[in-house]
Symmetry: C2
Subunit: 238 residues, 2 copies
């Protein structure tokens, strides 16, 4: 099946967790809003605003798989997981991978809110003191607790994969978490990495997989920027 993937064309954002899964599996997909000719975003908006749609998505990313249209990053991965051989097929294993992905989704919101704690409708410069304070607590409490949790999960599962005995979409998402934290907080992350050696080793293994390596050096991988979840502000990386 050819999947139709819908997400904002200019950023990695939440859509990147799905792009990584599609790429790692060598899936047949089209990144609709990035097609040449600027017709992608209107097509995406049309699908969201369709008054007769049975299941209208609240926001991108969403996926069209045949007649099915599904949204919410973690749900899309839950759906794709077994179909792309990136998740266990039994109910308990699928639920466990999904549970980890939902915890990653919580972490992603926390990461975004370090630079925009007060409002997404204000510039960073308009919420600087709040951003500094939120970032401080994020690195003092959240990062050790959340990345420490994934380190423990990896360790309790033998160290190589977070779920089962092979690569899953959870491993790909953890790769993206490490990648993004390195971009947004290079100094802080460098100091922190020694506390989560299994997670860092997983990141390295994922980066070396042939399909992921090819994807990361292709134009399909949108570069990090000052838009989206991960943004670099020197003063937040004290």
């Amino acid at each position: 099946m050819r999947y139709e993937f819908y997400y904002w064309p200019g950023i990695q954002g939440r859509g990147e967790f799905i792009r990584l899964a599609l790429e790692a599996a060598g899936a047949d997909y089209v990144d609709v809003a990035r097609r040449p000719g600027n017709r992608g975003v209107p097509a995406m908006m049309k699908l969201m605003e369709d008054k007769r749609a049975a299941h209208p998505p609240y926001a991108p990313p969403f996926l069209k798989a045949g007649k099915l249209v599904i949204a919410q990053t973690a749900e899309i991965l839950f759906y794709l997981g077994p179909r792309l051989n990136l998740a266990p097929r039994d109910e308990a294993g699928r639920l466990w991978a999904h549970q980890l992905q939902l915890t990653i989704a919580d972490l992603v919101t926390q990461i975004h809110d370090t630079h925009h704690p007060v409002s997404g409708w204000l510039y960073f410069e308009e919420q600087r003191p709040a951003a500094r304070r939120r970032t401080q607590d994020f690195w003092r409490y959240r990062v050790p607790k959340m990345l420490g949790y994934f380190e423990r999960v990896l360790k309790q599962n033998g160290g190589k994969y977070s779920v089962g005995r092979r690569l899953s979409y959870v491993d790909l998402s953890l790769f993206q978490i490490v990648e993004g934290l390195r971009y947004a907080f290079p100094k802080r992350m460098k100091r922190f990495e020694k506390k989560v050696p299994q997670l860092i080793a997983l990141h390295g293994r994922v980066a070396k997989r042939p399909r992921i390596k090819a994807y990361l050096s292709s134009k399909r991988r949108i570069p990090f920027s000052q838009w989206g979840i991960y943004r670099y502000f020197k003063e937040l990386d004290a």
Copy 2:
């Protein structure tokens, strides 16, 4: 099956979405941390910290169903839904209900952050200007967009239920959203309600269901308070 439900005993919090589903279905369950004798919370912590657990939860709420231990509010409801007759049984219907629940989860985080935008480790009084600003944008942009979305979903589905032709856990969660916004923002919510008549009507119908009515007037329903997701601050309800 007797379900074991684990959540903080003093607050409604995210656990309440699950309590409502268990109660509406008349399910056989024990609210472990609320058992008499103060042994409930240590039992909950023990399960979370178990170094040999195959699937350790990151945080409450979580549910024990036989040997399965699952966490994350929306995932627990996804699991319980068809088992409690509170969700469709077919894949497309289950995914649709789950997608709506994940959007409700995003809204819940937004609601919490109105009073604690900077940090959960600071008092409200230490982040008052940020809270006022965040609340202003929350009511100006988020509430109309998110509650407007659920209003549309209800309308497109015939008005009575959000999913399919009978009560689902999504309806129960939307009841709890309205209930909580009325507690935290009585004035603002009163003004807003006329914009989402279907949602308000749904709230009324859920409140009148015999099991829900009995639950709400029982001691099992923990009252709203200044802890948890919904908190009342007069200055945020301008």
